[in-house]
């Protein structure tokens, strides 16, 4: 499927043809064609409304183990809650200056922070003031369809209504201020494979043995 063509002709051509289900597989790679994990892919159908509120809010736990946040990227719906748990034997000073939600907890070993309700959409970068390399990203999205790539760099949406969608990819190592523009795609009954290549900054979580990283 040619993306350029779909971008031009896609919208409105298949209005009302919503009966059969379709499947979209997005492969996220870097500029060297290596697969990228933890890329968040959002789909918005042209008639989809943003999610206003989650009917059943979910609490997701971000664990801190081995001086790292696990997972690195977590997707939240507006209204969802996040709880930071410290599984290390050291103390962690978890903070966020993000406009969507800023907070600061000093979490003792084996303890958890109180739940934080994420009611605004946006990306919340979370760090530890004690351990510079501990970074997590909370991605609060109101997109109808949102998922993050696995280690294989693939995100698969199945059982989607056929129609035109805009596809947006986000990754924490995207260059600041240069969000990936949304792409239009048309889903038909046959599976659509989409490959999106991203140009990423170095992984800030890299270990002390990372020579590039060590320069800072």
């Amino acid at each position: 499927m040619n993306l350029a063509r779909s971008a031009i002709v896609g919208v409105g051509l298949l209005l009302g043809a919503s009966a059969p289900a379709a499947e979209l597989s997005v492969l996220v790679t870097d500029s060297h064609s290596a697969t990228i994990a933890d890329a968040v892919v959002s789909l918005r159908g042209e008639h989809d409304q943003p999610l206003r509120a989650v009917p059943s809010p979910i609490t997701k736990i971000i664990d801190q183990r081995g001086e790292a946040f696990i997972p690195y990227v977590e997707i939240f719906r507006p209204g969802d809650q996040v709880v930071f748990h410290n599984s290390d034997r050291t103390r962690h000073h978890v903070y966020s200056f993000a406009p969507a939600k800023s907070f600061e907890f000093v979490i003792g070993s084996g303890r958890s922070a109180p739940p934080v309700t994420l009611d605004q959409i946006g990306e919340i970068a979370v760090g530890c003031n004690i351990h510079d390399r501990m970074i997590a990203h909370l991605y609060v999205s109101d997109a109808p369809h949102v998922a993050k790539s696995g280690l294989d760099g693939r995100v698969v949406f199945d059982d989607l209504p056929t129609g035109a969608y805009s596809v947006q990819v986000w990754h924490p190592q995207l260059r600041p201020g240069r969000t990936e523009p949304p792409r239009a795609t048309i889903l038909e009954s046959t599976p659509v494979n989409l490959t999106i290549a991203l140009s990423l900054l170095p992984d800030p979580r890299a270990g002390a043995d990372d020579p590039e990283r060590s320069k800072y």
Binding site: F97, S102, G127, N129, R175, G177, L201, P202, E212, Y216
Partner: protein, 779 residues
């Protein structure tokens, strides 16, 4: 320039040339070494500068990075607490030594600036640094507000990138000086910036010196390779290295220069030592050269003096010069050359003064020797015998020169054998001279007799016996001459007379010398005599035998010489003919004789005047006109004169005589042949001439009275003359008998002492008068 000086100069110039060449060579080598070293150092220095700037940026970046991790700062950034932020930036800037700190948003806009508050809200001027900073440390030299900064940009993470901090380290003179000190860089480090259009200007410089303004004023391109440049009269190796720079900033380069002069400075002491050594060497070399030149030139000067002495004829050996190698050899060669020249000159002198055949002194030597004696002797007396071998030319012509030479050699040996005390020389091919010191005429004659006795013995060779016909002429000093030349000449004159003399010996007799030089003086006197009226004419009357009347007279020339007295014509006419003076004399005679004829005619005496002409007068084509002119001038009839010419004169110039005589005859002038009978007149020839008269020579008439033969001869001559139509005159009539005979045989005229001698004109007139009286008495 003397040899000594030239030699010394050669030494010195060679030394200087070699030294200067070596010095230039060494200097050039050193300079190249220094340049190569400079290039190497510059390349290393440029790398070091870049590396140090990198080090600085890394250190500053690390520091900034640490600052950026400050929680409070990050909180202030995230919470946009600008006041806190600015103070924190200032604080941290001071910590890390940055002169300017900026906070830049992720959108590239300046959020905070510790130096220029106005910059806030505007875009950061070097976005490329911001872009790069997220990937790796971004650092570059930038020009901001006329100053250079090493700008380092570091992102701030909280924990994702939220902003960037830019730290500006001023790259100023202090920093460059520090860099220079740190790395022991070459003596010039400067930062230059392209201020637009390739015009590079200096921004900062380490140390005191700045080359950039002068260097880059003259060139547009950077010396990116080590280049030797001259700035302010000093030489540098310069190298420019472009520094890491922002795309947006003006190009900036580090300019490193390495002073060749400074690098060569250590060599200055070497040069000084070298120059001193050269000066010392020069002085030493000069002195040595002078000494050597002296030791070489001295002997050469001695030899030159010797050569000059030899040139002047002094062959004394040169002073010995020993132990001088080549010079000594030269001196030895000089001595042997001197000897050789002396010998050769002696040989030449001998040859010049000696006869090769007889080995006797030659004429020159004889003359010199005699002259020397006459000059030096207190009693300059002596006799010179000139010994001639009269037959020698004949012998040579007959038998050849070889035998002639042998005859002469034999004669010379004979002379030498008895030449005790005599000085013998061979003066001509056929003559020897023999000089006797202090000898008088008697001794000379005795000696001559002995010489002739010896030489009279015929020369014998094989079967030939040759008589050389020796004769001796003698001249005596001082009687016949006071100098050798005169004596030789006079002895030779005497020798001419000797063969005819008794015993074949003759002493010089001045009277018989036809070659006396005073005769030449006579000619000068003759010319003067014409002017001074010393010449005069006398007239010898001619008697007409038939009528016994004197009807003519022969003009005879007389010269009353002031010193010599009366001179006969014979004494000077022949000489005048030879010296070309005869014409003037003849003209004078013609004029005077015609004038006299005119005078007599006026006096009533019809005398025909006879004028003697010289053979030389026949050459004178104007003679007939001259005579005609004179005749006209004195109103004399042509037949009143007769021109007499000797038979020999006529015969010597026959053709000319015919022409002249014809013209004279046309004028009506009668001609007579003088001295008839003793010359070689051809009658056939005489017949061609318009001659009217012949004069029988006195030779035939003197003995006429006694000699029957002469009488017959004279009678025949008279008859012959008459038959041929000539009048006949007899000269030299000295007796009455002769006169009577002549009258008897019908001779026309007689002339002679018996009738009258040469008389003065007035006396002639008197004579005529008296004869007229007598005739009248007889009648």
């Amino acid at each position: 320039m003397s040899f000594r000086l030239r030699l010394a100069l050669l030494f010195v110039t060679t030394l200087v040339a070699v030294q200067v060449f070596t010095a230039v060579l060494v200097y050039e080598v050193a300079r190249r070494g220094v340049i190569a070293e400079g290039e190497r150092q510059l390349a290393a220095g440029a790398d070091a500068v870049a590396r140090q700037l990198d080090d600085i940026s890394a250190r500053v970046a690390d520091n900034v990075h640490v600052l950026a991790l400050d929680y409070a700062l990050r909180a202030a950034i995230a919470q946009r607490d600008e006041g806190t932020l600015l103070s924190a930036l200032r604080n941290h800037g001071r910590r890390i030594g940055a002169a300017r700190m900026l906070l830049i948003g992720l959108d590239g806009a300046v959020r905070s600036d510790t130096v220029e508050a106005d910059a806030v809200g505007h875009a950061f001027p070097f976005p490329d640094l911001v872009d790069a900073a997220l990937d790796h440390p971004a650092a570059a030299v930038v020009a901001m507000g006329g100053k250079a900064y090493w700008m380092i940009v570091v992102p701030v993470y909280a924990p994702g990138p939220i902003a960037l901090i830019a730290a500006g380290i001023p790259v100023d003179n202090d920093l460059l000086t520090h860099l220079q000190q740190l790395s022991a860089l070459p003596n010039t480090l400067e930062l230059i910036s392209d201020s637009g259009g390739g015009h590079w200007t200096g921004i900062a410089h380490g140390g005191e010196l700045t080359l950039a303004p002068e260097l880059m004023a003259t060139r547009r391109d950077l010396p990116l390779q080590p280049t030797v440049v001259a700035v302010g009269g000093r030489e540098y190796v310069a190298l420019a290295k472009r520094l890491k720079e922002s795309e947006r900033s003006a190009p900036i380069a580090a300019l490193l220069a390495y002073s060749l002069d400074d690098a060569l400075h250590p060599y200055h002491s070497v040069v000084l030592a070298w120059a001193s050594l050269l000066a010392l060497g020069l002085a030493g070399g000069l002195i040595g050269a002078l000494l050597i030149a002296r030791s070489v030139a001295r002997p050469i000067e001695v030899l030159a003096n010797t050569a000059r002495r030899i040139e002047s004829g002094n062959y004394a050996p040169a002073p010995p010069l020993r132990g001088l190698g080549e010079i000594g050899q030269l001196a030895a060669a000089f001595v042997s050359m001197t000897h050789a020249i002396a010998e050769r000159e002696e040989h030449i002198r001998y040859q010049a003064l000696h006869d090769a055949v007889t080995e006797l002194p030659n004429r020159q030597a004889a003359e010199d020797g005699i002259q020397r004696f006459l000059r030096d002797s207190s009693q300059p007396q002596g006799a010179l015998l000139m010994i001639g071998l009269a037959r020698l030319p004949e012998i040579i012509q007959t038998l050849g020169h070889a035998i002639g030479d042998r005859v002469m050699r034999d004669a010379s040996e004979r002379l030498r054998a008895q030449s005790s005390g005599a000085f013998i020389a061979r003066v001509t091919d056929t003559q020897f001279s023999l000089w006797l010191d202090h000898a008088d005429a008697d001794i000379a004659r005795m000696r001559a007799a002995r010489v002739l006795e010896i030489l009279s013995i015929p020369y014998r060779e094989a079967d030939v016996s040759l008589d050389t016909a020796p004769a001796v002429g003698i001249a005596l000093a001082p009687l016949h001459g006071h100098d050798a030349g005169t004596l030789l000449r006079r002895a030779e004159v005497a020798l001419i007379a000797a063969p005819g003399a008794e015993h074949a010996v003759a002493v010089y007799d001045e009277a018989t010398d036809p070659h006396r030089p005073e005769r030449l003086g006579l000619m000068g006197d003759l010319r003067k005599a014409l002017d001074r009226n010393e010449l005069h004419l006398c007239y010898q009357p001619k008697l007409h035998l038939a009528s016994d009347v004197i009807d003519g007279a022969e003009a005879l020339l007389r010269w009353q010489h002031p010193q010599r007295g009366a001179l006969p014509p014979d004494a000077f006419i022949g000489l005048a003919e030879r010296t070309g003076n005869i014409r003037a004399v003849s003209r004078w005679v013609i004029d005077r004789a015609i004038a006299q004829a005119a005078e007599w005619a006026r006096g009533g005496h019809a005398l025909r005047v006879a004028i003697n002409l010289s053979a030389r007068d026949l050459d004178d084509a104007t003679l007939p006109d001259l005579i005609a002119d004179r005749l006209a001038a004195h109103a004399v009839q042509p037949h009143s004169i007769v021109l007499e010419l000797t038979e020999s004169a006529v015969m010597s110039e026959p053709d000319m005589a015919v022409r002249v005589f014809d013209r004279l005859a046309q004028c009506g002038i009668e001609l007579a042949i003088d001295d008839f009978g003793i010359g070689q007149s051809s009658f056939a020839y005489l017949r061609r001439l318009p001659v009217r008269e012949v004069k029988i020579d006195r030779l035939f008439t003197q003995a006429l009275a006694d000699d029957a033969g002469d009488r017959a001869l004279v009678q025949s001559m008279v008859e012959l003359g008459h038959r041929l139509g000539y009048r006949v005159t007899a000269e030299g009539v000295e007796t009455a008998g002769a006169l009577d005979f002549l009258r008897a045989i019908g001779c026309d005229h007689a002339q002679g002492y018996y009738i009258a001698a040469g008389l003065e004109p007035t006396i002639v007139q008197d004579l005529l008068a008296s004869r007229a009286v007598r005739a009248g008495a007889l009648a």
